[in-house]
């Protein structure tokens, strides 16, 4: 039982970070209709920039973190402006490929600057374990999950109540109607990309902090979040949160119980198998909007 609870808890910790990065995917998809395969590279880049600012330029962590967020927001806007804007109206395959190309560029640039070795990441949160019921839990995990929960709450409120948030939802509903209501769709696209870049960078920093180290493997996390967004439905923010937690718990349980039987690797493949199963029953994910097509 304790083993089970431990796995579930670990799952919630990773799952919450999944949810955060999935939020980035959903925000972009909802407003622009692009699935951003470069999200993992955004995470990696954010974490490396933060690391460089703290370690090489000796900035205190909060300042470095704020600067990183600013940098990522600008990068998000630039990406939208330079790479995605010319692609408006192109078929899905071109949109997929352009983000895959972008991810290759970002990966190459990051590795050219910072190399491929594993680098120690400064601990953001205290790591001494605390007793949570029957389980000892690292404080870092708790803080990480709590900050993710806070961020998700902030974003939910942002979409619900602020002017920009409502404009974003309107754009997602119908770009034409949004335009006729005087919303600048171009500004919304830029906003969506910068939000996505910022949340993935936060995810990257948290993940590197929890793991205590940073290397290029972090980028693969982006690929692991893809089943999460698809599970929840590409255009549902609630789906991203639920999907993240479900997938996090699921992969940890698979890792814990199946790995001894099959000799490792179940953690990577189990989410995908479950995903295909769910997709055959619900082709637009659990909470995704069903698209009705007409000839």
């Amino acid at each position: 039982m304790e083993f089970f609870l431990q796995l579930v808890l670990n799952g919630i910790v990773t799952g919450s970070i999944y949810s955060l990065v999935a939020l980035g995917f959903v925000v972009i998809y909802k407003s622009t209709g692009v699935l951003n395969f470069a999200q993992g590279e955004f995470m990696m880049l954010g974490a490396y920039v933060c690391l460089a600012l703290t370690v090489e330029y000796h900035l205190p962590f909060p300042a470095a973190f704020a600067l990183t967020m600013g940098f990522m927001a600008v990068l998000g806007v630039l990406t939208e402006r330079l790479v995605l804007r010319p692609m408006i109206g192109e078929p899905v395959i071109s949109l997929i490929m352009v983000t895959l190309g972008l991810s290759a560029i970002l990966k190459g640039v990051v590795q050219a600057i910072w190399g491929t070795d594993l680098r120690p990441f400064p601990t953001i949160f205290p790591t001494e374990p605390v007793q949570l019921g029957p389980l000892p839990v690292s404080q870092g995990y708790l803080y990480s999950t709590a900050s993710v929960a806070l961020l998700l709450l902030v974003f939910t409120l942002f979409f619900k109540f602020t002017r920009s948030g409502i404009a974003m939802r309107a754009t997602a509903f119908s770009q034409q109607v949004a335009l006729s209501m005087g919303i600048s769709v171009q500004r919304i696209f830029a906003l969506a990309w910068s939000i996505a870049a910022v949340v993935s960078a936060i995810g990257g920093v948290l993940l590197a902090g929890v793991r205590g180290g940073l290397d290029a493997a972090l980028a693969f996390f982006g690929l692991k979040v893809i089943p999460v967004v698809i599970l929840g439905g590409l255009d549902s923010i609630g789906g991203a949160i639920v999907g993240g937690l479900v997938m996090g718990v699921l992969e940890n349980l698979a890792g814990g119980y199946l790995d001894p039987l099959v000799g490792g690797g179940a953690k990577e493949v189990a989410p995908f198998i479950v995903l295909v199963g769910i997709l055959t029953i619900k082709p637009y994910g659990l909470f995704g909007k069903v698209k009705i097509e007409r000839v």
Binding site: M87, M97, G101, L102, G108, A112, T280, E293
Partner: protein, 347 residues
């Protein structure tokens, strides 16, 4: 349009070659390719072999993605299926080359059929992610089925053998691959002049309209997956014969992305495009390596940056092509050809 190019019957309109010149040029090209091994160094022979294999796989991917409109991220997985089937059939069962290659293709086609089933209900991005799932399932199987695949250490493949002859060295393999390449390209080019090929294209253009017109969409989608995976499986088999040892490291997800890049850069829905794209993306790292070596002579730090360099250039090429020539190199070639046909009176 060329002057005096009158098409008076349906068969004339459908002809692949509209005049004698392309036939002659194609014949010359084949003769040149047949004569090449006499001059090429081992290194360039190896590069040529890899280009030919890439052309076969890219054509396969183009059939499903470019012609049928189903985005597949499973290319690396199907290559792996073909490669490991070859390792099993040639290594463990000792079958000859001309039996192993089609069988490897057939096994890959079967696997492709299974992973094509989600296309019954999924489309676009959701289908792309389902094929991504196929990739991870195959990768997992290959890494963990130690008795069959040798796990992470990989497995060696015996030299190609046909009718008691050992055909192991690069030159022999070159001719075997060339023959298969020509045959498969001939088949693919003609496939799209038949009912089946036209059904594929109809599904790509609009699947619901295709269904209304009486195309059995599910059947043809599965068929597209099967044909495509057959091509990719054959390519995987040849890859195994050529490399002589395969391991999961040969088939990472980046390989699938490279192939998508080939198809995009070459031209979606064009056999010629698959050829150009495969040549371009296979040659790119070789040329970069030459450039990098030259650069490293003056700036030693460049030596260690090669793979990053490669990644950046690949990404840039893909992004720039998508922006400035979304129809790929095949379309550009077409424009250039038309320009010279009417030169100097082009408008």
């Amino acid at each position: 349009m060329r002057c005096g190019d009158f098409r008076e019957s349906y068969s004339e309109d459908m002809a692949i070659f509209d005049s004698r010149l392309p036939r002659v040029l194609l014949g010359l090209l084949l003769a040149l390719l047949a004569a090449l091994p006499a001059f090429a160094t081992t290194y360039w022979l190896d590069v040529l072999n890899r280009i030919f294999i890439a052309i076969i796989a890219a054509t396969g991917l183009n059939i499903v993605t470019g012609f049928t409109g189903l985005i597949s991220l499973g290319t690396a997985a199907f290559l792996a299926v073909g490669g490991y089937t070859t390792a099993a059939l040639a290594g463990k069962a000792g079958l000859p080359f001309f039996v192993v290659v089609p069988l490897s293709g057939a096994v890959a086609a079967l696997v492709g059929l299974v992973f094509g089933i989600p296309s019954l209900r999924l489309k676009g991005l959701y289908l792309a992610v389902a094929t991504l799932a196929a990739h991870y399932v195959v990768e997992f199987t290959v890494t963990h089925w130690d008795s069959m695949t040798g796990g992470v250490n990989g497995i060696s493949v015996p030299a190609a053998r046909a009718g008691g002859l050992a055909l192991g060295d690069d030159r022999h393999i070159y001719y075997l691959i060339l023959v298969l390449l020509v045959g498969l390209l001939f088949f693919a080019k003609n496939l799209f002049r038949t009912k089946v090929g036209k059904a594929f294209v109809a599904i790509r253009d609009h699947d619901i309209s295709a269904e209304v017109m009486g195309v059995n969409v599910f059947r043809y989608k599965l068929l597209a997956f099967a044909v495509s995976s057959f091509y990719i499986g054959v390519a995987g088999s040849l890859l195994a014969y050529q490399a002589r040892i395969i391991s999961p490291e040969n088939f990472p997800i980046t390989v699938a992305i490279d192939y998508l890049g080939m198809v995009i850069i070459g031209g979606l829905g064009s056999i010629l495009g698959s050829i150009y794209g495969a040549i371009f993306i296979t040659l790119l790292p070789e040329l970069l390596r030459l450039g990098n070596d030259a650069l490293a002579a003056h700036w030693p730090a460049a030596m260690g940056l090669f793979s990053q360099f490669k990644s950046i250039v690949f990404g840039l090429v893909v992004v720039l092509f998508l922006m400035f020539e979304p129809d790929g190199m095949a379309a550009r070639w077409h424009h250039v050809k038309n320009y010279w046909k009417l030169y100097p009176f082009s408008y």
